[in-house]
């Protein structure tokens, strides 16, 4: 059983979004980290890079796989979690604590297109 947190928004590509005012804190779900296995590297963008909703902004890497990360909302990166550079295993340890980027949203209404916890739970079929 994967952990799912109530009150967050979820994308079909297994990112979670926590809304803090105008900023979306983005990470990957517990389900996604389990699917990847031991994560060896988190490829993150630079601060000030801009992304459209659905655009890939980085990737998770394991020994034998690479999985793109997709930005659930449009906006500009205001912070990246630099801790992950030397400790990618933090995503395995607690995927909801190991946020990846913070994005200043350009269109908060895009959040409405994302799933809530119940819908995401149904999607992953657990």
């Amino acid at each position: 059983m994967s952990k799912i947190i109530e009150g967050l928004k979820y994308s079909e590509s297994h990112e979670w979004v926590k809304v803090e005012g105008n900023v979306a804190v983005i990470g990957v779900t517990d389900f996604a980290q389990k699917e990847m296995g031991d994560i060896t590297y988190v490829d993150v963008p630079d601060v000030d890079d801009s992304f459209e909703a659905g655009e890939d902004f980085g990737a998770l890497e394991s020994v034998k796989a690479s999985s793109d990360l997709y930005c659930p909302v449009s906006g500009k990166v205001v912070e990246v979690n630099e801790e992950l550079e030397d400790a990618p295993e933090k995503v395995n340890e607690d995927a909801f604590a190991a946020w990846i980027i913070k994005v200043e949203m350009s269109d908060a209404s895009e959040l409405d297109a994302l799933m809530d916890a119940a819908a995401y739970k149904a999607m992953i079929g657990e």
Binding site: T40, S62, V63
Partner: protein, 464 residues
């Protein structure tokens, strides 16, 4: 194999040398300006000649080649590498040739190889510049685009690739500036022709195919596929990685292919060298010949030393034996498949060509909460018995893919011994999967920690 621990740097001692050079008979010239010189000598090892020879000999003893034993690595065509090939490649009158020198003997080799490969494949002309299979693919796709551009047809940006294709196909297409469109396979492992029809339009530059495909299955509808792709103005690209079963029997040019590459290090017996040098000559049909002069993909004439070896191989076999290569390879593959399919899952029945794919064990020993043995475990256990492992987890269509290619140069005795070991491993898995999960037991190292290697990379020697 015995474990030997040292790196050459750890054999080093200041003051030792491993070279001899002539005395300097020239007047000493004024040196380079200081600003252009490095500050410190490079940290290269200082070792005597006998130590160098012993070190690398010991390293070689931790390695396994085709000469060491059976190497059923699917899609890699690990056949015997004839020794006369090495002799001709080392001839000083070839090895000492500068690439810009006029050299009628070397030029004749390239001409004769061009003719021979055209004859074998049914295409018109070959370029020998590509240095590997992936390099050939890239070159072929550049030629595909160049052909369309020469005709003012600038809108062709898509290339269709089957979902069973090797990862290099989409990667090469992307590097050549083409957008990859995947076409699905049917449950019988062949391209879904109906799905293909839906993808065809005036934006298609061409389609890349391997035939037999990566499952070792012949694409029976190839004629229709080629006609459909040609019908919308696209070109057919043949990935020659799997040419071995067809040599002398079936020609890609006759099947409707316009461009192809060959892997001389697979089909034409040149040694793989631990991952190169290879050679990936690209052949084209007559309308594309003018495109060959419009691109330059390597510095000189490609890997000439590899081409020499392949030419020797073709001469040794002659037309009669070239046509036997595929027959024996296909015979051996089908024989192994039939002898093992009761204990390893065969996802697609029927005759295969030079290789086939199992989808893991029938009985992997799993029960209750205890997981069973995987394809990785089977592969690792094989190493204990002196066999190289098959290709594993490729193609991606099956989760436990185990891809076996025996080639024509293995005897029935070797193949029977392999079958017996594979059956024994299947029994071990059913009884005690941990024996497999902890394998290999007899090799110099066992299951290195790849996660730590990737998380905290150590990529050069660190002097302690």
């Amino acid at each position: 194999m015995k474990y030997y621990d040292k790196l050459i740097f750890e054999c080093s001692k200041p003051g030792r040398v491993g070279y001899t050079l002539p005395a300097n008979a020239f007047p000493k010239a004024e040196g380079l300006p200081q600003g252009l010189c490095r500050r410190q000598a490079p940290a290269l090892p200082e070792v005597s000649e006998p130590e160098v020879v012993r070190h690398y000999t010991l390293l070689s003893q931790m390695n396994f080649g085709v000469d060491s034993g059976f190497y059923p690595l699917g899609s890699c065509t690990m056949k015997y590498n004839p020794k006369i090939n090495e002799e001709v490649a080392a001839m000083p009158a070839f090895a000492g040739l500068h690439p810009l020198q006029s050299a009628p003997g070397a030029e004749k080799v390239l001409e004769e190889m061009d003719k021979a490969l055209a004859e074998i494949t049914g295409l018109s002309r070959f370029t020998f510049a590509p240095c590997a299979g992936a390099h050939g693919e890239l070159t072929g796709l550049m030629l595909m685009r160049q052909y369309h551009l020469n005709r003012g047809d600038n809108a062709r940006t898509k290339v269709i690739v089957p979902d069973s294709a090797h990862g290099t196909n989409p990667a090469s297409a992307a590097v050549a500036g083409l957008e990859v469109v995947e076409v699905k396979s049917l449950s019988n492992g062949r391209v879904d022709v109906e799905a293909l029809k839906g993808l065809l339009d005036e934006h298609v530059a061409g389609m890349m195919m391997t035939n037999p495909n990566t499952l070792g299955l012949f694409e029976t509808q190839i004629e229709e596929i080629a006609a459909l792709v040609h019908g919308v103005g696209g070109l057919m690209y043949y990935d020659g990685a799997n040419m071995n079963p067809l040599m002398g029997l079936v020609r890609p040019g006759d099947m409707g292919f316009d461009i192809m590459h060959l892997n001389l290090h697979k089909t034409f017996s040149t040694p793989h060298g631990g991952g190169g040098p290879g050679s990936g000559p690209v052949g084209v049909a007559a309308p594309l010949v003018p495109c060959l002069d419009q691109i330059r993909v390597s510095a000189w004439h490609g890997n000439f030393g590899v081409i020499l070896r392949a030419y020797a191989y073709i001469l040794m076999l002659g037309r009669e034996h070239l046509a036997k290569v595929g027959e024996y390879a296909v015979l051996s593959a089908n024989y192994i498949k039939e002898c093992l399919k009761d204990v390893y899952k065969l996802p697609i029945e029927g005759v295969c060509k030079h290789e086939f794919v199992f989808d893991g064990l029938v009985n992997d020993g799993a029960h209750d909460e205890v997981p069973g043995a995987t394809t990785l475990d089977v592969a690792k256990r094989l190493l204990d018995f002196g066999f190289h492992a098959p290709t594993i987890y490729f193609p991606l269509l099956f989760h436990q893919a185990l891809m076996i290619e025996p080639t024509e140069t293995e005897s029935k005795e070797t193949i029977d011994a392999f079958i017996a070991v594979m059956r024994r491993i299947a029994e071990e898995a059913a009884e005690d999967p941990t024996l497999l999960q902890e394998a290999p037991h007899t090799t110099p190292v066992s299951r290195p920690d790849e996660t730590t290697a990737a998380r905290s990379p150590i990529l050069t020697f660190q002097d302690a």
